[in-house]
């Protein structure tokens, strides 16, 4: 039965843990599962599956007679709907053509997009003046060509019609002149009193231009102060660790989700995967241990994962550190919990001196960071796999630069004018920082923001901020590399950037972004040549100030030698030596023991995987992207462990109330396999009130329980089931390939013993028997290889594909019916017990079968084979029978049940890729291997009568992938990159036994477990 048939996701199936255990006990070989319901595999689940299929009929409640009437009417009226002339269109040429532009050819501009202040280098495609697609900048250290989901979604953010479009004074529309007038007026007032009462609140920044402006502000108004607010607290990380995951053989993550780190996640992923190639003869594969309370992307890549409450991690780290410090590889541990784990990990770490790495997560207290540093020092890793440097985020030279300090002063009436640049503290400040009441006490509040959000609604003045793709700017990457950000388009709504507004406040020339940045860089990029080179490459080739001190607000960059060990690390080491015998350093003992022994629940606060802390809430692409691991869309949930859910007696999507610090919130439960038993996780970014039409009213606001003192954790949690039921859209069961064997996984040892283990049990060889004749060979045969061992499940491919191929957002109600349109989905499989399963990711684009089942069933030849082996979908022929989708064993075809593509909003029209058709209602669509890129390369090569070079065609998913897991090219050329990937012994075809001969094949996932932890579960 096709999964295109509408299916509701809310499974009213009671998951019985006893039956799960019984099933797992009696099974042989590998068994992957995608949800607890499937794992339980109860009668009820099958009954539910069957009962859910006829939902399509239920969607249109019609009797036979009514149906025939409608059928007749629609036939009679069908002709009318087509009754129109082809539209008369116009050509509007330029008055003066921009230099260097060739009509119809895209151009790429190097710039940077920032996340929490840190730069991510990108190349942005410009189609006749419209930015339409973001690619990674191969020259930029934080990108190396890859991107994360946020960089891809920046295009939709730029074109979001809900962005703030005018200056507002209260509820009246005002002009920029008015806004500048107020700033000038305040500046005059402060000139008299030295800036007493003047405050500026900014997000985290590394921008040298803005930092210089802040220094100028401090100089001109000695009593003025500025503060940094970041809900992600990246600014609060006073140290920046530069990790070299490619050099590490053993990595231990203490609640560190370094693969989705906003500072350098893309680079981390590339480095991490570089050291995990089992076929690389030059190096052995690295091993990753993850200790974490709530499953993360990094945890899903772990060879061994230990679910452990966040409050228990300091104690665990203490034991591990003690063992490492003692250099004790005997393995004789005390009887404490996880003793085997600690011993095995310590032994592994010590065995790889200088090639091991301990990473502490930013949600962990400073003590864990100190322990991680001391372990790295003891293991000789500092300088090898990790370097500690100062944070690049600017902090004020004097005074407390925190939001809490600012709010305290606001309450005390010490603040006269507050200028908020690109921040939204009314939404994302902790609840104990009463921002709303504080704002009311400030006579003059001015807000600059991309949206007129919660803060913009409350501020006296609000002004539209220019998007990063609309404004000049600069920023530094995690390693200090600086880049100039150049605009791709003039501000759509006349917005200005933060540096331009700062210039208005400071007065004097220049006030325009380009001149400001140019002036800030006048020493380093003194002539046009250097400036243009910096713009063109996207990086400034001046030695970065990495090995230095914090970049101070005065702009000075003292070049200090690399600090191998920070002062804190040294003191931690001293503490550890003192406590060599007991497992836990004394400083931590009391605290952590209580939390480990007690029955307390803990509430963890985390950014949402796709919309971060709320800044991306109004982005439909990100809302609809199934969140890694949970596969949920459009909502946030309360993650609880299977054991806790049983104790509470709740099922998925049933409501709970969370109480902490006298506050409470309600939300739906999601039973998370692999969640630490006593940990409950909530995610930020939802419960928005003034984000825009996409985000408003979705989910619950987790900031309601967050405190400034303990931003990542609340230990006084009470949780009560409310009996409510929520309707949540999640894609877990969509497009299932039931009862088959799509995923192949082995351990490194298995791989060494039999490199071809992945295909060992295939019933047929690479070319199973077929009734259909082979197509004659052509000049090229396009194929794709996806390395499951390199896929971290970040889903950048899905968003990149959505951006490149004009894939519309369908909305929560449609996702609930299984109608999402993503051409490349990332399936997530679990293996093992629900308490701590292994998890696997599998991106599934079109398989481009050589003997495609979809082609033979199309009654109108709308899906056909082309000469070069692609299975093409012809939209203008498609009549929407959906036979092809029913016959597709991989479930990769997507149908436009409604007119999903917005044909009217001008912003969306401008956003689309002009090389790809915008599909209508009633048309089937699917992955095309980016046929537009193939054709463009074909035309360029054919014009010059040459062959298409290997690597000339890069599909959108391939380009975005941070780890280069996806490779594409000509498989008839044995030297091509993709052919070499397919020559790997790990290569296998999905559902090979069906004889479809897919052109997309997979490389099996290899895990590298520690033999000493063999029967420890994961």
């Amino acid at each position: 039965m096709s999964s295109m048939t509408s299916r509701e996701n809310t499974a009213p199936v009671r998951v019985d843990p006893a039956s799960i255990r019984a099933r797992l006990a009696g099974q042989h070989g590998r068994r992957f599962w995608r949800s607890l319901e499937e794992l339980a595999d109860s009668e009820a689940f099958h009954a539910w599956l069957k009962s859910q299929h006829p939902r399509l009929a239920a969607a249109v409640p019609l009797d036979r007679r009514g149906f025939l009437k409608l059928l007749g009417a629609s036939l009679a009226l069908a002709g009318l709907s087509a009754c129109s002339h082809p539209p008369e269109t116009e050509i509007v040429p330029y008055v003066h053509k921009p230099i260097g532009q060739i009509d119809g050819l895209p151009r790429y501009f190097a710039t940077v997009l920032t996340r929490h202040g840190y730069a991510h280098g990108v190349l942005v495609r410009d189609d006749m003046g419209r930015p339409t697609k973001v690619e990674g900048n191969p020259q930029h250290p934080a990108s190396l060509g890859g991107t994360d989901i946020f960089a891809q979604a920046a295009i939709l953010q730029l074109w979001d019609p809900d962005r703030s479009q005018s200056v507002m004074h209260g509820n009246t529309v005002a002009s920029w002149d008015d806004f500048a007038g107020v700033l000038a007026d305040r500046a005059m007032h402060f000139d008299a009193n030295g800036g007493a009462g003047m405050r500026v609140l900014i997000g985290p920044t590394t921008s040298p231009t803005l930092i210089a402006q802040l220094a100028a502000l401090e100089k001109r108004y000695p009593h003025a102060r500025w503060h940094v607010h970041d809900p992600g607290d990246v600014a609060g990380r006073n140290e920046l660790a530069r990790h070299h995951f490619d050099r590490a053989k053993v990595i231990v993550s203490l609640d560190a989700d370094f693969l989705s780190d906003p500072v350098a996640g893309v680079r981390h992923a590339r480095d991490f995967i570089a050291a995990r190639n089992p076929e690389d003869a030059r190096q052995s594969m690295s091993r990753l241990y993850v200790v974490e309370p709530t499953p993360s992307v990094t945890g899903s890549m772990a060879d061994h994962r230990l679910p452990l409450a966040s409050t228990a991690i300091p104690a665990f780290a203490g034991r591990l550190a003690a063992r490492v410090a003692a250099g004790d590889t005997s393995g004789a541990g005390s009887a404490h919990a996880h003793a085997r784990w600690v011993n095995a990990v310590a032994k592994d770490l010590l065995a790889h001196h200088g090639a091991s790495l301990v990473v502490a997560g930013h949600t962990q207290p400073e003590s864990v960071h100190a322990l991680a540093r001391s372990m790295n020092a003891a293991l000789g890793s500092i300088g090898e796999t990790v370097e500690y440097t100062a944070s690049l985020i600017a902090t004020p030279n004097s005074g407390d630069g925190s939001l809490a300090a600012l709010v305290e002063d606001m309450h005390a009436g010490k603040v006269d004018t507050l200028l908020m640049l690109g921040v939204n503290p009314v939404y994302d400040a902790p609840f104990d920082v009463d921002m709303i009441a504080a704002l009311r006490r400030v006579p003059h509040t001015l807000h600059l923001g991309l949206y007129r959000d919660e803060t913009g609604m409350l501020a006296g003045w609000h002004a539209p901020q220019a998007h990063e793709l609309e404004a000049w700017g600069d920023a530094r990457a995690f390693d200090g590399t600086a880049s100039i950000a150049q605009p791709l388009i003039a501000p759509l709504y006349g917005g200005h950037s933060a540096i331009e507004v700062m210039a208005m406040l400071l007065g004097g020339a220049p006030a325009e972004g380009h001149a400001l940045v140019r002036q800030a860089w006048r020493k380093q990029l003194d002539d046009d040549k250097a400036w243009n080179e910096a713009l063109q490459s996207g990086v400034i080739s001046i030695p970065p100030p990495l090995r230095g001190d914090p970049i101070r607000a005065d702009g000075g960059e003292a070049a200090l030698p690399l600090r191998h060990e920070s002062e804190r690390a040294r003191s931690a080491m001293r503490g550890m030596a003192f406590a060599a015998n007991p497992d836990i350093p004394p400083r931590l003992r009391r605290d952590s023991l209580r939390s480990e022994g007690g029955e307390n629940l803990e509430l963890l606060f985390r950014p949402d995987a796709t919309i971060d802390y709320g800044a991306w809430s109004n982005n439909g692409w990100l809302q609809e992207l199934p969140k890694p691991l949970t596969q949920l869309t459009w909502d946030n949930v309360v993650l609880v462990s299977p054991a806790l859910a049983k104790k509470l007696g709740v099922q998925n999507f049933e409501g709970v109330e969370l109480r902490s610090h006298g506050h409470s919130l309600r939300g739906p439960v999601w039973i998370m396999p692999g969640q630490a038993e006593r940990s409950v996780t909530v995610h930020f970014g939802y419960g928005r009130k003034h984000a825009g039409r996409v985000a408003d009213g979705q989910g619950f606001d987790a900031y309601a329980l967050r405190t400034a003192v303990s931003p990542w954790l609340a230990t006084d949690l009470e949780i009560v089931a409310t009996g409510e039921r929520y309707e949540i859209a999640q894609t877990q069961h969509h497009f299932a390939m039931d009862g088959r064997d799509p995923l192949r996984v082995g351990t490194l040892d298995e791989f060494m013993a039999d490199p071809k283990f992945a295909t060992a049990h295939d019933r047929y060889g690479p070319n199973p028997p077929s009734l259909y004749p082979d197509y004659p060979p052509a000049d090229y045969a396009w194929g794709m290889s996806i390395d499951l061992n390199a896929c971290i499940g970040c889903k950048a491919c899905t968003i990149a594909c959505q951006s490149e191929n004009n894939i519309p957002v369908v909305g929560k109600a449609q996702v609930r019916r299984g109608r999402e349109l993503h051409w490349i989905r990332v399936d997530r499989y679990y293996e093992g017990a629900a308490e701590n399963p292994d998890s696997y990711n599998q991106p599934v684009p079109c398989m481009m079968c050589e003997h495609a089942p979809c082609e033979v069933v199309c009654p109108v030849d709308a899906t056909v084979h082309n000469t070069e082996g692609l299975n093409v979908q012809v939209y203008n022929r498609c009549v929407g029978t959906r036979f092809c989708s029913n016959n597709c064993p991989y479930k990769v075809r997507r149908f436009n049940f409604m007119q999903y593509a917005d044909k009217h909003t001008p912003q969306y029209k401008a956003m689309r890729n002009p090389e790809v058709t915008v599909r209508r209602r009633g048309v089937m669509e699917k992955c095309t291997y980016c046929i537009q890129r193939i054709e463009t390369a074909h035309i360029e090569a054919d014009k010059r009568d040459r062959r298409i070079r290997d690597g000339e065609i890069v599909t959108a998913c391939q380009a975005a992938c941070p780890t280069q897991a996806i490779r594409f090219g000509d498989i008839s050329d044995k030297q091509s990159n993709v052919s070499q990937a397919k020559a790997s012994p790990r290569n296998y075809a999905m559902l090979n036994e069906l004889g479809t001969r897919p052109r997309t094949t997979y490389l099996a996932r290899i895990r590298n477990p520690n033999p000493a932890l063999k029967d420890e579960g994961s």
Partner: protein
């Protein structure tokens, strides 16, 4: 057997038949009219400035690529920016009434809105550059523009018409030197075309793939 219908019913029946026939025919005409292109084939299209290809190409001998600069590189031949017009018309005929919209547009910076003459559906991705590179002359689709005072569409632009050439390109190919020659007629097109097919490495199999034009 007695007659079921009275005699005068025959008239009504005949009238009904006529009505059906008339209705059917008028429906067909209505359909044709409704689906027709806004401007017919070889029917001149009125433009804000009555630009004459006959004068510029035929009389003055200006090369196609002087204005349509991107024809060899891009999918679009390119409609010239007004600054191209002003290379001559800043000096020539500046007081002519017909040129007034051009000068106003240039001075005010508000571009001219030309009517599109050759319109393909949005799902068709035609590329000028590859056709130029593979020896399809301008005149094959656009006709003898040097004889057109106002531009008009010369071909139906139906898929059948596209395919006629994509199936048998040898019937239309010409040497690259003659691409922009609007009045070039070979002695033996088939022999020449077959030779050029080999020379230009044209893979006929690919030409009729759906994906060649539809994405």
């Amino acid at each position: 057997m007695a007659q079921i219908f009275p005699k005068r019913f025959a008239l009504w029946f005949q009238l009904f038949l006529i009505a059906v026939a008339v209705g059917f025919v008028s429906w067909a005409f209505l359909w044709r009219w409704a689906m027709a292109d806004p401007v017919g084939i070889r029917e001149p299209v009125e433009q804000p400035v009555p630009f004459s290809h006959k004068h510029h190409v035929g009389d003055d001998g200006i090369d196609c690529r002087y204005c349509h600069t991107s024809v060899g590189q891009s999918a679009y031949a390119g409609i010239p920016p007004l600054s191209t017009c002003m290379t001559c018309h800043s000096q020539l005929y500046t007081h002519q009434k017909v040129l007034a919209p051009l000068l106003t547009a240039f001075d005010s910076g508000v571009p001219l809105h030309w009517k599109r003459v050759y319109k393909l559906p949005d799902f068709v991705y035609f590329n000028h550059g590859i056709h130029i590179a593979k020896g399809v002359g301008c005149a094959s689709c656009h006709g003898a523009v040097d004889q057109m005072p106002l531009m008009s569409r010369q071909q139906h632009l139906t898929m059948q018409w596209c395919l006629a050439c994509h199936r048998d390109p040898e019937k239309h190919l010409r040497p690259r030197a003659e691409i922009f020659n609007l009045h070039w007629h070979p002695k033996n097109q088939l022999a020449l075309g077959t030779r050029l097919m080999r020379k230009y490495q044209i893979d006929k199999r690919r030409l009729t793939d759906c994906s060649t034009c539809h994405r």
